[in-house]
Every structure is written in structure tokens, then in C-alpha cells.
Symmetry: C2
Subunit: 628 residues, 2 copies
């Protein structure tokens, strides 16, 4: 028997198939993923493919003409189930027809989580009602569900009731329902669509929105989206945004709209990336600090920023995506994880979930470095937490040559003592454009290490070509203009070191105040987790030399990445994690730094590099004694 070679693009996979077979069946046999909901009956129209040269396939059928426009047919579009193979052939599978969505490697720590999402798809093949058994359509679905699972007393969302009779008949009594939390039916589609169920986990950072698109059948991340938080136009820090929101209800609404639009943007990005439609997203989980959370939901923030700093809502909060104008399935649900207190929000709950410090018997220090940072000290017995307003310096903001972690950003800096020669690495290995967060931490730490600056951040009077003066003020040249992509020197100024000192002092104060609360010293800490969107790239030695974190031996330090988002993802794929999140939000003890008597003093001490009292940094002290 003669066989044909069919090549499937864009993957390029070749199959040797029997002549006369239709393309859908051939693809199935050969393990090429082509979408089909009706099982190859020409009913769903989902197996659309493109065959430019149609000499070796069967003619266009009337069934295909029902699903395709004349223009589409002219362009070579066909339905795979209706097209038989008559010879060698090239088939292009458009992204929306492709079944496999590529897996994305996610940076950062995450605990293994049993897949148990709050939304489920169930395919039902029902009996057609008869005069003898005139069962109502909704009841037909519900009784089938009761047989299949222990789902009872489910309520249909109202909109579905309106289309229910037609969907059942369109699917010829083969339908897929989507349930939310064993309570309600939120979608009803003809045919079997169980392979298409997605969720979206979002971290609303003060500076950045990041989201994971997750396949809820596998728990795998299949798309990522991120962008600057568009609220940034109304202030880089939390306080200026909530002050703005409080001025008028319009302002509050505008800030809410901005973050919603941003979220819709990252959903779009992640979806386009992976061939998923936003309507296939059935649930979203959201983390963010209390202020971001409140602005996202449009909750009054007035009392959050006045003593005694009361958040309006602790949560968890469940809202329909539609009510928030979020572009997902119209009946999708948004689960906003619960806050802890003050500004320690659901993002902090995510940090703890992803690092699992609440399950450890070792004493842990967890630092989430961000515009609004969080610090935790504790273990399974007790965890104390606080929030630290570090500001956006670590994001490269207010740093003369500061830059986000994009291609061309200097992310590693090493300064040779005495010669002051600089070695640097850039993201992507290209010519430098600026310095990102980890680079600036390296820079300030190294400048102090080599004696270029004092512990107060003032420039010493050293002799080096790299010491230049701009408008009378000293700056240190990290990259010469000949090396850069901008044609300008990339330098670190005294204003830059000041910004970094203030930012690191905020974080450091959180660490020391909490350690004091817990009555533990640097020696008692068994593990340190540094989290944050850019945490993966910080050099731990620099972080210690700068005094961003306490002087704890390097082997105890791990980088955890964006744990807030990882926690949101864990909650997205597991109902059980949500229960843990709620428990954690009530259990983690909150410390209001402002109300701590030693806060002011600690903060001032912490602005020095690494700290006012070197005895607290024995490793730095030892190095300096040896090398200066």
C-alpha cells in the first residue's frame, strides 16, 4: 500500500501515513497535537489547518464551508478532520489549533504542590430527553454530574441558564461544564474541552506587575507577562499613590483602572505567547502588598495611612473577574490572597508559602527586597513580620545610570583593590547601557571594600583615572564611554550611594528590629532567603558588605526569586494552599516598625555601610582589618 509523507509546520515533524486517512487522524496517530472538540465530526470547527498546496488532498467539503469563510478557504484553510491525504503534503498548524503549549521555566523557589485547582472541567455525554423521560436540560446535566462525582447542589451562573438549551443541542448532548469551588457552574461548552483550562497568578508589585499563565491540567506555567505598574505615573512609592487616591473618588477609580489595564496587558502577553485565549482563563489569584491590594480593589485606603494603620480588608477576597473588568472568562473568579496586617500583604503570604519557612524547625530570615519590602524572622513555632519602605532604588530608579534588569544592564561589578580596575558583566553580554539593581549593590559594596567611599558613602580622595568630577562632584567610572552603548561614561555618584544607603537601611532595620523581637542574633539564624523579582541576581557577599542583610555566613543564604508570585501560583493550583494562606495570614505576627521604640535609631545606624557598629559585621571587619 502506498504511503505519504506529511510534514507538520511550524514544528517540522514528518509522519509517514496511509493514503486516504484524514489529517486529524494522521496527526493523532503520529502524536502531533491538533485541537478538536467534536472528535472529528466536523461540528466544532476547531481543527483548522492551512495547506498551501492542495493538490494532494481531498476537495473542500460543504461541512468545511460552514466553518470557513470563502477568503479563508482561498488562503488554504481546511478542517483537518474533513481533509483526506492523497499524497505527500505540508500542513501548517496555526497557534490556536496547536494543542501543546510550551512549558516555561520559572525562576524562583516554589514548594511542590498537589494539583487540586478550584476550577474543574468535566465532560458529560448525556442521554437525549424523550417524551417518556422529559428531563429538564439543567437537571439532565446535574444528574449526570451527581453520577460522575460527588458534586451536588451546584448552582448555574445565571448567564449560562440563558444559553443552556442551545449549547446542549449544539453539542448533541456532549458538553463540558466548568465548576468553581464545588458550588457553581461557571461555564458550559459544547463538546469535550477538558484539555483547555487555564488560570492566571498575578503579583501586583509597587513597581512591577508579573503574571503566570498556568495550565490547570498540569499545573505548569505556559506563559508569562510582566510590565511596569502603570500606577507609577502617580508616584513611585505607596504613600504618594494612596494620597492621590484619597483626594477624589475619580482618582481612586483612575488608579484602579490603571492596574486593571496593566493586568489585562500581561494577560494578553502571556496568552499570545502560548496560544491560549483569555476566555480559557477560569480563575485568577492575586498577591500584592496591602496598599496595592486596596488600590486594585478600590478599597478605601484613608485609614491605612493614618495611625493605627488599619487595612480595610484582610481577605481573602473573592470577586468576579467581570466586576473588576479583567479580561478572562466572563464568569472567571479572582481570588485575592489574604493580607497579614499594615502593609504586609498577600505578597508576604506568598513569600512564606513558596519558601515554606512556616514548616521549618530551623530559624529563618526571609527578606523580600522590593520597593515595598517585607522581612520575616521565625520558623514553625512563630513568625514575626514587618514591611520596609525601601523605595525603588533597587529597581534602578533615582540612580543616575540606573536601569531595569534588561539587556545591556550591568548586573555584576568587581573592582580590583588599589588599581581600581573594574570588571563587569552585562545582561545578554552586550555593550553596557546602565546599571541594574544587583549591579548597583555590587558597585557600592565594592567601592566601600576598596576604600573608594567611606562607611557614610562619602568619596575618599583616592588617586585613579576613574575618579571624575561632574559639576564639581566626584563620580566613579564603572564603564568608559568607549565601552558603552550610549557613548557616555557609566558612573556611580554620591547621590547614587545615598539612595542605595537609604534603601538598604530600610531593609536592614526590618531585619534587626525583628531579630531583636525574636531575641535571636546573626549566629542563631540557620537559613536566609532573599526574595524579590530581581533577588536571583544579587551577590550575597555584596549584600552583606553593603549591609543590606545581616552578617550571616554565605552558605546559609539562598536566593528565592519572585516568591510572592510563586505563592500565588501555588494557591492557583491548590485549594489546600489557599487554606494554608488563610491560616498564615492570621498566624504570622505583625510588627509595626513605626511603633517600635528603637526604629529611628536602628534606621540611622543602618544607613552606614555596612552598619554603625562594625562588631555586628565580623566578616566585613576581618576583611577590612586585613586589606586596608
Amino acid at each position: 500500500m502506498k504511503r505519504s509523507v506529511v510534514r507538520f509546520e511550524p514544528e517540522g515533524k514528518k509522519l509517514l501515513t496511509d493514503m486516504g486517512l484524514n489529517i486529524l487522524d494522521a496527526a493523532k496517530e503520529g502524536g502531533v497535537g491538533i485541537r478538536s472538540e467534536c472528535g472529528g465530526k466536523g461540528k466544532c470547527g476547531k481543527c483548522r489547518i492551512i495547506i498551501e498546496d492542495q493538490r494532494n488532498v481531498s476537495e473542500v467539503t460543504n461541512t468545511e464551508r460552514q466553518h470557513l469563510t470563502p477568503e479563508e478557504i482561498y488562503q488554504g484553510n481546511r478542517l483537518a478532520c474533513m481533509t483526506s491525504i492523497h499524497g505527500d503534503l505540508v500542513v501548517f498548524i496555526p497557534s490556536e489549533t496547536r494543542l501543546s503549549v510550551r512549558r516555561i521555566q520559572v525562576q524562583g523557589m516554589e514548594q511542590p504542590t498537589k494539583l487540586e485547582p478550584n476550577v474543574k472541567k468535566i465532560n458529560l455525554v448525556m442521554k437525549k430527553p424523550t417524551v417518556q423521560n422529559p428531563i429538564a436540560d439543567d437537571f439532565n446535566i446535574l444528574s449526570n454530574l451527581e453520577k460522575l462525582s460527588n458534586l451536588q447542589e451546584l448552582e448555574f451562573e445565571y448567564e449560562l441558564l440563558r444559553i443552556l438549551p442551545d449549547v446542549l443541542r449544539k453539542g448533541d448532548w456532549n458538553v463540558t461544564i466548568t465548576t468553581l469551588g464545588d458550588r457553581s457552574v461557571i461555564d458550559l461548552e459544547p463538546f469535550d474541552t477538558t484539555s483547555r483550562i487555564f488560570g492566571f497568578a498575578i503579583d501586583i508589585g509597587t513597581s512591577k506587575l508579573v503574571g503566570y499563565l498556568v495550565d490547570l491540567n498540569s499545573g505548569e506555567v505556559v506563559g508569562v507577562g510582566s510590565m511596569e505598574n502603570p500606577q507609577i505615573a502617580y508616584g513611585e512609592d505607596i504613600l504618594s499613590r494612596i494620597s492621590h487616591a484619597e483626594e477624589t473618588p475619580d482618582n481612586k477609580q483612575r488608579l484602579q483602572n490603571l492596574v486593571t489595564e496593566g493586568i489585562n496587558g500581561i494577560i494578553q502577553m502571556a496568552c499570545e505567547d502560548s496560544g491560549v485565549e483569555p476566555r480559557e482563563i477560569y480563575e485568577l489569584t492575586v498577591v500584592g502588598n496591602t496598599a496595592m491590594f486596596s488600590l486594585f480593589l478600590g478599597i478605601q485606603t484613608k485609614y491605612l495611612h493614618l495611625a493605627p494603620y488599619i487595612p480595610g480588608v484582610k481577605g481573602p477576597t473573592i470577586v468576579k473577574a467581570k466586576e473588576l473588568n479583567i479580561n478572562a472568562n466572563p464568569r472567571a473568579s479572582v481570588h485575592v490572597l489574604p493580607n497579614i496586617a499594615g502593609y504586609v500583604g498577600a505578597d508576604a503570604v506568598g513569600d512564606v508559602l513558596a519558601t515554606a519557612i512556616h514548616k521549618m524547625d530551623e530559624m529563618c530570615l526571609l527578606v523580600d527586597v522590593g520597593t515595598n519590602g517585607e522581612v520575616f524572622v521565625g520558623n514553625e513555632e512563630e513568625i514575626v513580620s514587618c514591611s520596609c519602605a525601601a523605595g525603588p532604588a533597587f529597581e534602578g530608579v533615582h540612580i543616575q545610570h540606573g536601569l531595569k534588569a534588561v539587556t545591556g544592564a550591568i548586573e555584576r561589578i568587581k573592582i580590583e583593590p588599589k588599581s581600581f580596575n573594574v570588571k563587569y558583566e552585562t545582561i545578554g553580554g552586550s555593550k553596557p547601557v546602565g546599571i541594574c539593581g544587583s549591579g548597583i549593590i555590587d558597585a557600592v559594596a565594592e567601592m566601600f571594600k576598596c576604600g573608594i567611599i567611606t562607611d557614610r558613602g562619602k568619596f575618599n580622595n583616592i588617586e585613579s583615572q576613574r575618579m571624575v568630577r561632574i559639576e564639581g562632584r566626584p563620580e566613579f567610572v564603572v564603564a568608559w564611554k568607549e565601552e558603552t552603548n550610549t557613548g557616555k561614561n557609566i558612573t556611580v555618584s554620591m547621590k547614587d550611594t545615598e539612595e542605595i544607603q537609604l534603601a538598604k537601611a530600610a531593609i536592614h532595620t526590618g531585619c534587626t528590629v525583628l531579630m531583636e523581637k525574636k531575641k535571636v542574633t546573626e549566629e542563631d539564624i540557620d537559613r536566609v532567603f532573599i526574595a524579590g523579582a530581581f533577588g536571583n541576581y544579587i551577590n550575597p557577599e555584596s549584600a552583606k558588605f553593603l549591609g543590606l542583610i545581616p552578617d550571616i555566613s554565605t552558605e546559609k543564604i539562598s536566593f528565592a526569586g519572585n516568591t510572592a508570585l510563586a505563592g500565588a501560583k501555588m494557591a492557583l493550583v491548590s485549594k489546600d494552599v489557599r487554606k494554608t494562606a488563610q491560616r498564615l495570614s492570621r498566624w504570622i505576627r505583625y510588627v509595626e516598625l513605626m511603633a517600635e521604640p528603637n526604629f529611628q535609631k536602628e534606621f540611622i545606624n543602618s544607613t552606614l555601610i555596612p552598619y554603625r557598629y562594625l562588631d555586628r559585621y565580623p566578616s566585613v571587619k576581618k576583611y577590612l582589618e586585613k586589606n586596608r
Copy 2:
């Protein structure tokens, strides 16, 4: 000590009170109901009263000026809590300030029901948060609730989260929450509003909308609204309306809007009647036949009117009032009771709930007479049911001098044998305007009894002045033009008797087919309930003589009134009744009359008065043998 006399209008109640007391406290002491939510602190402004002559009261305070406009103050408006009594006084309490709402006597049968509504109001007096205890606002509410009741895992409706912080502070940590079904918080108000919680029960009849406004603290009906179903413009019967709805989506939407507007109209009526605001209605229950139900919810009806007559939705259906544009609290919920099958809808479930035939060991026949009537035969062991398209003749439609049951309608008719003299009674005792349903049933039954018409409804050739000919056709004069309010004779024509014969045949066929199904005869029936909006007024002898119901001895017959609505009201005040309703909707056996082999024959036999075979009507047979 000198005392003063205060008279409260419009009740006219007089109290002897201490001078210096404020009016709110005096009213409380004397048992006069004045609304107050803040407990007399001048915060809520709800205790507004009117004192025309203000010589014997304290001066207007600044607090009052915050709640009242200068014009209101000029007109004598005051706050009762801010006004002290300085002497004898007349106080007028406006309806919105009056606490007691008058009880309305409801016509019709209803089972005593334990008050256990699905919505509850709970007053919380909370601790103000402090720096030491910076409890989030929502959590403050929830932990107080957990202490007070076993309500846990309640979710706030999203809109409430947005206003929550402000409401708590407006009420000075004294707030009232409204819960729905132990699941969610649907309202949040400052101060104590627990005395104001209402529900609304609706019967969507093919011809008529009727609703009860119910005080959910007492279970009593405090207002009634009713009007013609505005969908009537698109057909008097079910089939023409659903055919119209199926023509275009716009038509379907228009029919849905019409009934919604009608419902809003009867809510408005009932509210105005009783000083209740629509936003104080927190839950609604709805009954109606399957077609009315589907048009109300905008559910596809196409398959309901084609064999095998499949309803899209059996229910129960829970929808937000807002989604249906119903004018109640924006977060109120609409609970539509479940249908049985075919056209036997939630109204039929209401009939059974209100008569409780499912709890009886006696064999029952329940007939709900309406444009779309329902018949039930059975008891606690089994109930069979069917629907009968009687049409609107019993509502006075298509009857030459037909009229609804309004003032001036002839509701009772007696014709003297031989002399053919007529005695009639009208509603309200005024001059006759037309004949309503019970009158026309009397008329046709009496005309047959006296030999004016044959068993086929043809006029006999009798000698009487009352026999007149209009355009060559005989008519019988019930009231001479000299007696009427219209200046015209009120007559019954042959076309009228035909209409009544067809209508009664539909109901009668339902009875006989079901009795046959249950293998019971007239003798086996222990109780007969006649229900329907006008059922109270039918003369049972006439109903039997006409052959509307089978020949069962009169002492077994009860009139049950609008049991569909009574059932809806029972479900409104009791969660337990809803469970029973759901059980009944699955348990009651449905008989599709059209599919019954003897339906056609029975229907034709039933068009005769009282029936083709007189042996089935021994009491009628006996009368005729004796008197003719």
C-alpha cells in the same frame, strides 16, 4: 413634678410624659414606634418627626441642622432624639419614621411555617482598633460574627468591601450586617437596622402578577401589589408569547423586560403601601409556570414548545436581583422555585406547599384554576400532576361582558327555574358593570340547570323576556340596562358559553386523566382544593354543575385562594420550605396530557355540560331527573 401630654399622630395615641424628656425616649417608654438606628445620638437622622406648633419644645440644635434642610426645619421637621418636651404637644410621625408596618390579611390557604429566612440582619458593636490591636476592618466584623453566631467563612460582596472602612467609622463601630444563606454578607449599614428586613414573594401568572411584601422579622405580609402581566400585549396564552419570544432575541428581551417592569411596579405599590423602601428588600422568591419562568429569566423556550416539551431549566434558580434589573437592594437575591416538568412550574410547587397535600394520607384532588391551570391527584404516597391550557376565559377575557374581579363585577348569579328571574351580587355591592369569572361560571351552570341551554351549550327555545336576539343570535339577559352602570344589558351569549365550555373542559380533562392514572374514582377522593387567584369566590355547586370539577360531595371541597403565591411566601420565610420545594419538584410525577392516548376523547367528552356521560355526575343527574 409637672407632666405633659404628647399626642402622636396619625395614630392619635396620647402619652403622659415627664417634662424635659426627649421625644424619642418618651415614644419608646409609651410604646410608640419611632425609627432610630443610632440609638438616639443624633447620628442617623432617621427619627425625623413633624411638630407644627413648636412653642412647647426645645430649640433646633446644630445636630438637627446637619440632617435637615432649612426648608424642612421651616416646615416643622425635627429629630425626635434632639427635641425635648417642654409642655403639651402634638407630634406627627411621617410614614418613613413609623416603625410599625400594618399587617395585611392575606386571602388563601397557607401552612404554618417556622420563621427561618435565608437573609438575616445582625447588629455588631465592635471594638475600635488600636496600634496594639490593629485588626483589619473586615476581620473585625468577621471575628465579632464568629463570636455571636456560628457563621464562618462568610464572604463579603465585592461592592461592600469598597465602602466597608467608611461605614464602620460612620457608625462609630456599631453596624448591622445582612447575611445571605450563611455564605455571604450582602449589606453593611451603620447603626442598628435589624428591625428593617423585608422580602418579596411573587407569583408570575400568565394573566396576573401578584406580590407580597413580607416583614422577615415577623413573617407577616405588610404590603401587596398586583397588576396584569404586561406581556399580555404579546398574547393572552403561553404559546403565542413563547412563539413571539423565539422570533428574535430582541423579542425575547422585550418580553423579559416587560415582566421585570411589571414586577418593579408591584414592588413599588407594596412598598408605598407600607412605608418600606425597595432597598430594604433583601430576598425575593418567585413562582410561575415553566413558560412564565423561562420568559422571566430569558431562557430559551424553543424546546419547551416542541415535543418532547423539554424545559431548559428545572431549577431552583438563584440570581442577583441586579442581574434581572429588579428594584430591590442592589445585592438582593432572587430565588426562583423549581419547576416540575413541561408547563407544570414552580407555581404548582407552591400550590402543593400551601395545601400540604404531600403530607396527607387522604386522597386529594388539587385544581389551580388559571389561564394555565394545574391539576394534582395524590397524597403522601404519590402525587401526579399535569397542566391544562384553560385560556383566559375565567379571567373574563373573550367573554362579551367579561370583567376582572373588580368593583361592579357580577360575582354571583342565581336563576329561578321556570320564571328565569335572575338574582345577582356584585363586588362592592355597586351597580353591575360586567361579569367576572365566578359570575360567568354561575351563569352558565344556572342556565344549564334551568334548561336555558343544552348540555352542548346551545340555547333552548324557552319563553322569557330575558331571551333576546342580537344580530339573529340568542342571548340571555343577566341584568337589564336600567340596573347597570353601563346603560346596556349585561348578557351571556352562545359564544360566551362556548368559551367557558372549552376552558372548563381543559381543567376537567386534567382531573379525569390524572384520576385514571391514579386509578381512583370520584368516590375515592377525600378532599378537593380549588386554588387560583379567584378560586375563593367560585360556587362549588356551580363548578360541579358546569363540570369544571368532578362530581364530589360539596363538604369535601375547600377553596384555597392563591396557593402558588402562598407557597412562594412560605419559601421566602423558611429555608426549610425551599428544601421541601426542591424535593417536591423532583418527586411529583408529571403527566404530559398531550401524550396520553385518551386525552382527545376525554377533552371532547368534557366540553359537554357537565360531561358527555351523566352517570359520572350522579348529583347533577339526580337534580335534572327531579326538576325537568
